[in-house]
């Protein structure tokens, strides 16, 4: 099953099973069915609940907030994740605050879904991974499916969550095949975080301790099979730990994975400074200090803009070969 089909089918199921679910976003009228086609076919099936909207990102999230407070379960699509900046106030000062400011008397069960990421040559304002700006916002879950597990099922769980959820998809993953069972030399298991969201463990070895722990999520997870396969040829045992809920972090699970090897690499597509890896490194230095053999290594894009020219973009965004080279260096 492909990532995109999985998401599309889950939206269909949600609409069919729960009359409170409403889906809206720009350009989702069928037959066009949305910029990335995630909602295709749904507007035809449920014309009163799948709505195409004007280009008003801030108001879209506000609509969702107003709906959620009055008992609906809105799923709003923001066409490109880069445009989340336009929604920041409604996420930060409305969606995630109502329940707390009103002392727990209301809930705001909204899901804002959006595709992030580069690799398509769309340029600096259409290729970013700015979910990092929302990490750590109190009372906000940030969830990002990768190629492991069932992306659609994750979306269903996100929509059923009673708190606001930012659901981060990745453009390059839409045509990708989801990986479920063990394949290609990888052993895949999963653990549950404190809200029962899966954290996938992908190993290129059967038993014993890994040499290095690679922590990543979302779009970058597509490099895991390749990295594990190449490093297996070097007899390097790699444990890839791939959470699906990336904020709040599954600290206990990450600590355990870090201690197994004592060498940690965190991989993200967003820019380096103050990113996802920075928080993981801070938490691990508190929880795993004695077990770490060296400082946590963060791999991310440089602190600049995503260039448009193909070869520049390829060099800018982290790649599998970059990660492999960093890991080989770290094993000295």
């Amino acid at each position: 099953m492909k990532y995109l089909a999985s998401l599309n089918q889950s939206l269909g199921r949600l609409l069919a099973e729960d009359s409170r679910v409403v889906v809206f976003g720009e350009d989702i009228l069928d037959p066009y069915g949305g910029a990335f086609k995630v909602t295709r076919g749904l507007q035809e099936q449920h014309p009163d609940r799948v709505l195409t909207t004007p280009i008003s990102e801030a108001a879209l999230v506000a609509l969702a907030n107003g709906m959620a407070l009055r008992g609906l379960r809105p799923v709003v699509e923001i066409m490109f994740g880069d445009f989340l900046s336009l929604c920041m106030d409604q996420i930060l000062n409305h969606a995630t605050k109502f329940r707390a400011m009103y002392n727990g008397q209301v809930t705001v069960p909204i899901t804002v879904r959006t595709p992030m990421g580069g690799g398509r040559g769309y340029g600096p304002t259409h290729s970013q991974s700015i979910e990092k700006l929302f990490l750590g916002v109190p009372y906000l879950d940030v969830i990002s499916p990768s190629v492991f597990g069932d992306a659609g099922e994750l979306l269903e769980r996100a929509v059923r969550r009673d708190c606001p959820v930012l659901f981060i998809e990745h453009k390059l993953l839409y045509p990708a095949e989801l990986i479920s069972g063990n394949s290609d030399g990888m052993t895949i298991t999963s653990q549950s975080d404190s809200a029962a969201f899966p954290v996938f463990r992908v190993q290129n070895y059967e038993t014993g301790n890994p040499d290095v722990t690679l922590i990543t999520y979302g779009g970058m997870g597509r490099f895991v099979p390749e990295i594990l396969r190449h490093l297996a040829k070097e007899e390097l045992r790699v444990l890839a730990c791939v959470p699906t809920r990336i904020s709040p972090l599954p600290c206990d699970i990450l600590t355990e994975a870090a201690c197994e090897s004592g060498r940690v690499v965190v991989l993200e597509e967003g820019t380096l400074t103050n990113g996802w890896g920075a928080e993981i490194a801070a938490q691990l230095q508190e929880s795993a200090w004695g077990e770490l053999k060296r400082p946590v290594r963060r791999i991310a894009a440089p602190d600049s803009i995503v260039p448009t020219a193909r070869q520049l973009e390829d060099a800018f965004l982290p790649s599998a070969s970059l990660v492999e080279a960093e890991i080989l260096e770290m094993i000295e």
């Binding site: 409403v22 108001a59 609509l63 907030n65 107003g66 407070l69 009055r70 002392n103």
Partner: protein, 321 residues
């Protein structure tokens, strides 16, 4: 669509509720206005004595808007959204002076446990937030939900003239008209955005803007509560039937500062405003009609003092987890 001065509009809707001069509800309107005025004055007094921390935005002078509009809503199903200057709206909706005092005094018995405070009040179907314009857009979303659930509810949202400079207000007007949602936008135009007069805030007129979205606007002076009540009743009834939003633009004025200490108006201007204060005018009108308001006012004062006493002695707020 045009913008209209107050007039009789009876086409295609229920018989509008009108207030007769000898109706019981006149004294009720006065009682609510008086309660709001006394609560706001008490709060300002508590601040000046250092017994409360933070800030408040009082609606002294604008009680007609709160009481006239809210009185015409159906409290069993309608929804109300407001902004940072929401005490009047809150009291008109709930009458809960004790909960309001406790909230502002940081008590656990406050309507939001002392966590939200003055700008973030909540009650059944009542929501507010301190970010200008945000509530306007949320209100449109609530209206969608109510229409979807076929509850027959109308969603009312209060905004000030200052908010008419926020972009999201225009996104909201557009969506409400495009999707035919039951929203009543109430614009309380008091001529000032914080310390800045309107002429430095807005190009053109603000109460004609909704017309470009196909939304009818009614403009009136907010000097007479029963007039505002009648107008609102008509408009709300139309919205319920047509499923289309409308704007009610009320010309009013603030007698007190924006919050505290940010009043840059001249003493002459303030004196002239006080001369047009609707509350004493209403009082005089009722006395001329033969009503004795002493008992009513004493009762309000007593309720207020009791509420304050209870609030001040109740346990402090606890953290929200």
């Amino acid at each position: 669509m045009s913008h209209l001065e107050i007039s009789n509009k009876t086409d295609g809707c229920d018989a509008p509720a009108t207030v007769q001069e000898d109706d019981q509800s006149l004294t009720e309107l006065y009682r609510q206005m008086y309660l709001i005025r006394r609560v706001e004055e008490t709060l300002l007094d508590l601040f000046s004595k250092g017994r409360v921390s933070g800030t408040i935005h009082t609606c002294i002078g604008q009680e007609v808007c709160a009481v006239g509009v809210v009185g015409a809503l159906d409290k069993s199903r309608d929804v109300l959204w407001t902004n940072h200057r929401g005490h009047g709206h809150f009291l008109a909706w709930t009458g809960n002076a004790e909960g309001l005092f406790a909230e502002i005094l940081g008590r656990a018995s406050g309507v939001c446990g002392g966590i939200g405070g003055s700008q973030h009040l909540h009650a059944e179907r009542f929501y507010s937030n301190g970010i200008l314009g945000g509530a306007v857009a949320c209100a449109v979303g609530s209206a969608f939900a109510e229409k979807y659930k076929q509850s027959g509810a109308v969603v009312t949202v209060f905004m000030g003239d200052g908010a008419m400079a926020e972009g999201i207000v225009y996104e909201s007007l557009n969506l409400s008209a495009l999707w035919h949602l039951p929203v009543l936008f109430v614009l309380e135009d008091n001529g000032y955005a914080q310390s800045t007069p309107k002429r430095f805030e807005h190009a053109g007129e603000i109460n004609t803007r909704a017309a470009t979205f196909g939304i009818e606007t009614t403009t009136m002076e907010a000097s007479n509560a029963s007039e505002v009540f009648s107008a609102t009743s008509q408009i709300v009834s139309q919205i319920r039937h047509t499923m289309h939003p409308q704007v009610l633009a009320l010309r009013t004025f603030r007698l007190a500062p924006h919050s505290k200490g940010d009043d840059t108006r001249s003493p002459e201007e303030l004196a002239s405003l006080r001369d047009s204060d609707p509350l004493p005018a209403f009082r005089a009108q009722l006395i001329r009609l033969g009503y004795d308001l002493n008992a009513l006012e004493s009762e309000v004062q007593e309720t207020l003092e009791r509420s304050l006493a209870v609030a001040e002695t109740s346990p402090p707020a606890v953290p929200f987890i």
